[in-house]
Symmetry: C2
Subunit: 145 residues, 2 copies
Amino acid sequence: MPRARIKDPLLKLPGYVLRRASAAALAELNQRLARLDLRHADVAMLMLIESSPGITQSQAGHVLAIQRANMVPFVARLEGRGVLQRRQVDRRSQALDLTRRGRMLLVRARRVVAAHEAALLKRVPDRLRPMVLPILMALWNRDRP
Amino acid sequence: MPRARIKDPLLKLPGYVLRRASAAALAELNQRLARLDLRHADVAMLMLIESSPGITQSQAGHVLAIQRANMVPFVARLEGRGVLQRRQVDRRSQALDLTRRGRMLLVRARRVVAAHEAALLKRVPDRLRPMVLPILMALWNRDRP
DNA sequence: TATTGTTATACTCTATAACTATA
DNA sequence: TATAGTTATAGAGTATAACAATA
């Protein structure tokens, strides 16, 4: 039982609340995904490959904001698990595709993600809900650095 | 120059966009703070101590969601830098206060944060701007786990 | 010359377990 | 018995530099 309530002066800062909201949501999603032995980044990768079969490793890294160097062990882990396979497109590029196992796993993962996203949105009052995605996209501002 | 545009299937997911927006904003803030040799968490700590002088180390960790074990080197670094000081409140609790140097640094840091927050909000269309904080607070949902 | 994948490495952040000394 | 601080350690995630092979 907390003794004295402490005022948090950071709650007025959208940037701070953005970070805390993101961290909380991410932790929650990872917990939900744990029973599939997946992390949020794994599912993002699977969804991207399903959407763009044959996408190259570097293209995928670019979309997901994962650097080339970090893609190597990441992709290797998923390949070693048998959920994706690499295919030589030319002699330096690797095309990525889901395996049957990957597609089956993605079906289950997508349900978990959908439940998570629904839970997130449900916290927002009905009136504000349509503004969630537009506001987050605007805050992201992924063009201008 | 990108060859073929790749559709990102994750852009419809608030949770994903939340994460990307947070990561981008955080990187930007840390860049802005670099000239003061500060990280975002440092400023959060300074602002919290200024708001609640004498807050204990464990209370601060609780508010900032930093675990006790991780508070130790964190606080030690700031203390070693002379921006905060620890004071024994009883024989197990440490009260934290800003030093003069800490207060002076915070004045400058606050300006950087304010510029950052303003830049964030400016990306959001006027009509949506008043909903930013309410929506982020709702998404955070810091009560229910 | 620029790009792709790769290796190696380092740094930050976060998480866990165990210990001590206090309240 | 629960709490505050500490130590040690491990794991993510991310960042940089350099290299080979190829477009």
